[in-house]
Symmetry: C2
Subunit: 120 residues, 2 copies
């Protein structure tokens, strides 16, 4: 049975920052929701482009050569291989779209690295 997904409702189920949850599966990709607050970690993804769509708040996407402020209703695509660090000075609600193989911290392993994400 196909069901629609309400993004705001799914966000209420996300308790931890920097811990994406799977809310949809589409071809080889996952649709995830996440809450960001503070600074993440500099990393890149060897083989995966990654989309960040802001549904609440503001995301500062730091790249090595520029910072991009992404506001509600805006998205940015970080191509594979490009080092980036997401930052949110206040809590931000984000939809992520990326291949199922994507690890949140990319080439880096640290305390917030998440494997085997939950579907909610």
């Amino acid at each position: 049975m196909i069901k629609k997904v309400n993004i705001a409702q799914k966000m209420t189920l996300v308790e931890e920052y920097w811990s994406p949850k799977i809310v949809g599966e589409l071809n080889d990709s996952h649709i995830k929701v996440a809450k960001f607050k503070g600074e993440f970690t500099w990393h890149h993804h060897e083989n995966e482009d990654e989309l960040f769509l802001v549904v609440k708040g503001t995301l500062l996407m730091k790249l090595r050569d520029q910072d991009i402020e992404v506001n509600e209703g805006e998205f940015v695509i970080v191509p594979k291989g490009v080092e980036h660090m997401p930052v949110a000075s206040e809590e931000a609600h984000i939809i992520l779209i990326e291949p199922k193989t994507t690890l949140n911290t990319g080439n880096v392993t640290e305390a917030r690295t998440k494997r085997n994400l939950d579907s909610i």
Copy 2:
């Protein structure tokens, strides 16, 4: 140079109903924006799952066994092979995420079939 995309701004560039425009490229997929009004056509996609995210208005996704009302801030994923017909009684603004190979009318060719979509 990586640039963010403002969805509402892109929507102002869409003049024709049922005519998706490409606003992003992500791995093997395109991110598209479209305006829907009225009834589309029953069709399916042989090999592609298709995501419809409503950013304005309401989308009625008709399937052969159910109708799903998708409101602002909600999405539905139609898996490959599943016959569907999008309907919007009032103008609705939609983000589509689907493989680059996806044709808007799937297995059907009709007046609104769009090939070689523009990027905006």
